[in-house]
Amino acid sequence: MINFKDVSKVYRSGNREIKALETINFQIKKGEIVLLKGVSGSGKSTILSLIAGVTKPTSGDIVVNGKRVSKLQDRFSSKFRQETIGFIFQKFNLIPNISTFDNIVVPIIPLNLDSREIEKRVKKLLKEFNLEHRRDILVKNLSGGEQQRVAICRALINTPEIIIADEPTANLDRKLSLGFIEILKSLKDKTVIIATHDPIFFNLDIINRVIEIENGKVKKDKKTPNRNK
């Protein structure tokens, strides 16, 4: 499903070079829930960006769902994201001055789908995430938990096979973080990759695997035996 082969990423800032990842190798199978663990700046978010094709590796090869995302041209990598990836950002990255409905449909707008199809998909998600009554409310007027649910709905609207979550609980209190974990449990048959250093995830039974990143390298890659999905 996801294959990282000798992947390195170097960011350049003027004359300075920052090595974000150094010869990373791993594979993630379909349906796995993987935790990318590590301190801030360890390279977790870079791995997520590389999986999504948002950024390209300096060297190495990344294959996701049979597509070499490391070599995809811009418009193909956008299409790839549109079809395959659901993104949940640390700060939700919602558009504050538009409604819940409009935020959720953002990823599928370019697809020019039939309005009934869009309505059907959004309705289903709003119901599933208990946001029906907030459908037409501006996102900036929602609570933190509701905003996060909107961000998850947006990540799921294009029925992606892979969900990527970058520090999803960083801006949430414990109660809301537990709520997010409940949502995670409901995401059946999706490959989920969560980059976090929040300990709340560390002993979860839904996590199949923990990859620990340190200074741009894989420090540990440990399978967790209990998967209770």
């Binding site: 978010s45 418009r75 990255n93």
Partner: protein, 394 residues
């Protein structure tokens, strides 16, 4: 055929509403610019059109007698020799001049016409409905412009006007008609009467005229004929229709210069907006583009969305501005701007600009504003969407 993505258009509209006040301000400024530019061009075009129509109906050559740099009446019998010049079809003496009406402190343009001069007869017939030329001649009457009529009425001259001859005696002339308002720009201060009446008022001998007009059917021969007349009568000034066109054009161009200043100011303001747009997007706009790119929008999708945003703003501003300018020029009669063309004479023209839709002006204005604005919106979005999404969304 791919159907139009209405969701993308709706998203663009929502996006405009997200920065409501900024966009309302841009629409207002953009609309005002279109109003100013379009009004300038429309007034200029309409006046040029009207002047050209008038100038085209002028005689081919005018001959005036000059002595010591001053104009004098010309001998009518010179017509016979002029008619002998090859290429000349007609040569007619004219009488015209100005009458100073002391009560109102204004000058009227007085023209004496000969009923046998078809050139004037036809023109006048088209301007004044139910004009009886024989009556005009017999009963010492005249046709006047709207401005003249108003001024006379202010002094209680409703049916006639009493001219004072050079010897101090009075000549009563009846008002037989008023010129139609759509030719008022030129005819506003005119009094048209028979040559007999004119000569009577100004006490001009029948052997003299104000000038002589010459008709030359072959337009390419006009300069040659003009030169021959000048050689024949060295004490004359020979003006061709082309000379007059140039001098009218000079006055017109001078006034257009003032408009040009307004035009430059307007364009300058427009380019400030364009520059502001080109100088880049704010952090919120950049972040939004980053989010859209991260959730799967291609650069093309983002540029399309930006295109719709700019198109909506520029088309609305252009259409509203253009409609307002039509209303301003042709219904409100261009207050403020019309003063530049009209001047401030007491005999104010009843300014009815002839409606003349100039497609070239509309296209030029459109090309000068709409594509530039759209470009100014798309370029920074293109730059922003080509930078590292990672940087933007973090």
């Amino acid at each position: 055929m791919r159907k139009i993505n209405l969701y993308l258009i709706e998203f663009a509209i929502n996006s405009l509403f997200r920065q409501k006040w900024k966009n309302i301000f841009i629409v207002i400024v953009f609309t005002l610019l279109i109003v100013i530019l379009s009004s300038i061009f429309q007034i200029a075009s309409s006046i040029r059109y009207e002047l050209n129509l008038s100038l085209n109906s002028l005689p081919d050559i005018f001959i005036q007698k000059i002595k010591a740099g001053k104009l004098y009446d010309i001998e009518v019998d010179r017509v016979d020799k002029i008619l002998e010049i090859e290429g000349v079809e007609s040569a007619k003496p004219r009488v015209w001049g100005y009458y100073y009406f002391e009560n109102a402190g204004v000058n009227f343009s007085v023209i004496g016409i000969d009923q046998y001069q078809n050139q004037y007869k036809d023109t006048l017939k088209s301007l004044v409905s139910k004009l009886d030329f024989e009556e005009l001649e017999k009963n010492s009457s005249m046709v006047v412009g709207i401005g003249v009529k108003k001024i006379l009425e202010e002094s209680y001259y409703n049916r006639y006007f009493n001219f004072i001859r050079p010897d101090g005696t009075i000549k009563r002339v009846y008002i037989a008609g008023v010129f139609d308002s759509n030719i008022s720009l030129e005819a506003n201060d005119m009094m048209v009467m028979s040559q007999e009446t004119f000569r009577d008022i100004f006490q001009i001998d029948g052997s003299l005229a104000t000038d002589i007009v010459v008709g030359v059917p072959n337009k390419s021969e006009i300069p040659t004929v003009a030169t021959k007349i000048k050689l024949l009568y060295p004490d004359t000034r020979v003006l061709t229709k082309e000379d007059l066109k140039i001098s009218y054009q000079n006055i017109f161009d001078y006034k257009q210069g003032i408009f040009l200043t307004l035009f430059v100011i307007s364009i300058f303001t427009f380019f400030i907006i364009v520059y502001d747009k080109l100088s880049g997007l704010n952090s919120q706009e950049k972040r939004e583009i980053g989010i859209l790119r991260a959730v799967g929008w291609s650069m093309e999708d983002i540029l399309k969305e930006r295109f719709y945003e700019a198109l909506i703003i520029s088309i609305i501003s252009f259409l509203v501005g253009y409609i307002i300018s039509l209303y301003y020029v042709y219904i409100l009669k261009a207050p403020l701007l019309r003063d530049i063309f009209e001047g401030y004479s007491k005999l104010r023209t009843d300014f009815n600009l002839m409606f003349h839709f100039d497609t070239q002006i509309a296209i030029m204005l459109f090309l000068l504003t709409v594509p530039i604005y759209i470009g100014a919106n798309i370029i920074p979005a293109w730059i922003a969407s080509s930078i590292d999404i990672d940087e933007v969304i973090k």
